[in-house]
């Protein structure tokens, strides 16, 4: 009997399509027949069959609910709406047949009832689909932005927040391993999906393993499927995560291995468990320390670049990952103050400017202030004395000024004091007293006077 019950239960997904078909057919016929009124006898019959098959669907559905171990909470909406649909089919039959059961039925217009019926069948069907395929079945392929706009919870990436100070105190499992599993594995191995009967969202699930047994062999990462499958080549069918899903980084895989080798502890800080710092370095925040400001900018026009390059000035993207430009006069030593205006069309994008060895004079400083994103400035081997250098103070990204072998004068050094981002000033072979100030702006600006020496020592001339 149990076998029969279970078998009948499993026929539910098949049988439900009968009432759906009948109801949709009935509704379509009603619409088609709205003016001609020729199918008056057929439509009630269709709804009768819809009602009968819907009752069958309800019975098999109930059996499936009993046999497959669904929680009532999961199926309740589907169950009640299914029963309602079955009943409503008979109501429609009665209405169209003209059976005068109640006064109420007579008063409601048929189109209203049909509309309600459509909503009911759609709702029931959708609820059923949600049970079989999961609630996010239809939403999953949508882009995240649309998902959240629709009010669906998007899959939440857990951030691994480690840095030089806190890394030892972070909980290894809770703060790191769990986050990796969450970001790369849990989208399939969660209570709703349970791919391979494996749950990776909780301690219990990880320890219990999946349909092939345990996924962790204590202290033995290479024998543990949780680790070894991630190391299989991409082409291997057993590789996890499957092709097309977000893959964990090498560092993440390595860390999972180290965690298993350490006995996969679920409690304890990194320090207590004793894992090495280098395993975690890739999770530390990346400092932005490049030759351009830390924001994005629109690309300079290729035409402007071309025009400038024709004058012999060299222009390059600093890298393909940014639109900031590096401009160099290495091939144009004749560059002078009056040539500067030609650079202005790309002025927003210039982050690195090498005017070393050119003819520029102090008049250049006021012009340079027109390059708001200038980060690295080279004025070495020029005749600038530093007069008006204070006009560069407005450049809040300026990090380094190279004045090596220029005529820079002592009196202009203090002008640099309050430059916001300035870190290095190179003053080798200038007129500034190298015994003077070594740093400015409370140590933020380091002045390099150069003139390093390597005094002769006796061993220089000993030949063995």
């Amino acid at each position: 009997m149990d076998v029969l019950k279970q078998l009948l239960g499993r026929l539910h997904p098949l049988i439900v399509h009968l009432p759906i078909g009948f109801i949709v057919l009935g509704l379509l016929l009603q619409w088609y027949d709205r003016k001609r009124m020729e199918y008056g006898k057929v439509i009630p019959l269709v709804y009768l069959w819809a009602g009968v098959s819907a009752v069958l669907a309800c019975i098999t559905g109930y059996l499936q609910y009993l046999g497959e171990g669904y929680a009532f909470d999961t199926v309740k909406f589907h169950l009640w709406s299914g029963i309602a649909t079955a009943l409503f089919a008979f109501v429609m039959y009665a209405k169209l047949k003209g059976i005068k059961a109640t006064n109420l039925l007579e008063k409601v217009p048929i189109t209203g009832l049909s509309g309600l019926f459509l909503i009911l069948i759609s709702f029931t069907g959708h609820q059923g689909g949600n049970i079989t395929h999961g609630e996010d079945y239809l939403v999953e392929p949508l882009p995240n932005s649309i998902k959240s706009a629709l009010g669906f919870q998007t899959f939440e990436e857990k951030e691994i927040a480690l840095n030089d100070e806190n890394w030892e105190d972070a909980e290894l499992y809770e703060d790191v391993i769990k986050a990796i599993l969450n970001n790369k594995c849990v989208s399939c191995h969660n209570p709703k999906k349970i791919k391979g009967e494996l749950l990776l969202h909780s301690e219990e699930g990880i320890i219990k393993g999946g349909e092939n047994g345990e996924v962790i062999i204590a202290n033995n990462a290479s024998e543990s499927e949780l680790f070894s499958r991630m190391n299989l080549p991409m082409e291997d069918d057993d590789h996890m995560p499957p092709e097309g899903k977000t893959q964990p980084s090498k560092e993440e895989i390595k860390l999972i291995g180290a965690w298993i080798d350490a006995g996969h502890p679920f409690k304890g800080t990194i320090q207590e468990i004793g894992l090495k710092k280098d395993l975690f370095l890739s999770f530390f925040p990346k400092k932005h320390d490049f030759d351009y400001p830390d924001f994005e900018i629109t690309a300079a026009s290729q035409d402007s670049i071309k025009i400038i390059e024709e004058t012999g000035v060299h222009i390059d993207l600093i890298s393909k990952s940014s639109n900031f430009l590096s401009v160099s006069c290495i091939n144009k030593p004749a560059f002078s103050d009056s040539d500067f205006e030609s650079l202005l069309p790309v002025g927003q994008q210039i982050a690195r400017l090498d005017l070393g060895g050119t003819q520029v004079t102090d008049a250049i400083f006021e012009k340079l202030a027109m390059l708001p994103n200038l980060t690295i400035l080279k004025l070495d081997n020029t005749s600038v004395t530093g007069k008006n250098i204070e006009s560069l103070k407005s450049l809040e990204h300026l990090k380094s000024i190279n004045l090596t072998d220029s005529q820079f004068e002592q009196s202009h050094l203090q002008s640099l004091e309050n430059f916001k981002s300035l870190q290095s000033v190179y003053l080798y072979k200038t007129k500034v007293d190298s015994k003077g100030v070594q740093t400015l702006n409370e140590g933020q600006i380091i002045i390099d006077y150069g003139s390093y020496e390597l005094p002769i020592i006796p061993s220089d001339s000993i030949i063995y």
Binding site: H314, I318, K320, S424, Y426
Partner: protein, 503 residues
Amino acid sequence: MEDIIKRLLKEQLAREAQAKTRRHFIKNCAQGIGGLALSSIFMGCDPLGKPVKKSQVAFSERDLNPLATLAPPFSPKVKSVIYLHMAGAPSQLEMFDYKPALHKLDGQDCPQSLLEGKKFAFIKGTPKLLGPQAEFAQEGESGNWVSNFLPHFKKVIDEVAFLKAVNTDQFNHGPAQLFMHTGSARLGRPSIGSWATYGLGSENQNLPGFVVLTSGGNAPDAGKSVWGSGFLPSVYQGVQCRSKGDPVLYIEDPDGVTRDLKKSTIDAINTINKEEYAKYADPEILARINQYEMAYRMQIAVPEVMNINNEPENIKEMYGVEAGKESFANNCLLARKLVEDGVRFVQLFDWGWDTHGNIREGSVDLGLRNKCREIDRPIAALILDLKQRGLLDETLIVWGGEFGRTPMQENRGNKKMEFLGRDHHGDAFTMWMAGGGIKKGASHGKTDDIGFSGIEGRVSVHDVHATILHLLGFDHEQFTYEFQGRNFRLTDVEGEIIKEILA
């Protein structure tokens, strides 16, 4: 008359037909169709992306100006590299890797367990351990170890990040040098400098992008392949400049030949070459066109850049320059000048580090000390000089040999040798890097008590390459060149960035 023209035309067509072989035809077909297919695939993947026009690559602007600069895919930390290679393999045990335990074990038999399954170039039977022949001290704020063979180097030790446990699978000079510079112990791969200039070009249009300077009396054992371009276009190979006399031969115009005449000669030759290229599409013709043009431009720039005599006396003294001679010191000073003038990759080879103990020059206590003296001051000077010019932050300096040396004393022919020496050893040796993006004063990796193997932070040659490319703004896994039907990388299928020495 008409007959002659017809005949000539026919002959011309016949020759062109001969030049276009079946292979050309099939290749063109394949490229055209492949390109079409590829572009549709790429269009499919990314509707906003531009279709890849593969068949056009061979005629790009870059072919006509192959050293035009290109932006690296990622933000670079350095613009230039100076690679200092000590050809012959310096002994890490007398320079950087301090092993007090080896001192105590001096003269004892090397344990068999270490020798099993190992290959040595010369060691036979059971060699004896050889204690460090130098005195070590911790220097600088970093407290990293350095020996008294390098008294000047200790002043720049805090600028440097050590790799104490580099390993290579090669134990003979030629293959090991090839591996160190091309990522493969066998011939045919491009050197690091070629990859760098291929990927980035070079800023100064009057100088080559990749310059090679040698010292020590000999070229490296692996020959010019260590700066060769392998399967990359020849234009990216290293340009070796002479270390003595004129850096480039025939730099001055001969009597009666004016510069204008020379220019028009070269223009004429290049016009013909371009026609040839249009016809045969052989990339070597492009390389030749560029070499002519480069040679012409170098005539002006080279005498100025390569002339170290004009440097001030104090700089020359700092480096220990020896005027008119071939020396590592001169090359270091030249390297700085070249980098200052926008050269992308400067490769220095210093020969004479092969300290087997068979001759006085090749002993770890005497000959090595002389070699150390020859590089000690120049290297310290190079680092300080780059620093004071604000160039150290945008230059990467790499120092190393092709492998290291054994903790055992060499016993060639199973006999005690006349001088103290060590055999080739690839299991663990020291390299260092300094400059932009490098963590100052770092030391990564550790060897066992006698310095035989790395026990912590072992890094491979591929890892070193991955790190160099990373600092130049490349992902070593993405930076490829298609050759013989597959994509090649400098790091083959290996290599991980050594993050521990990055700032």
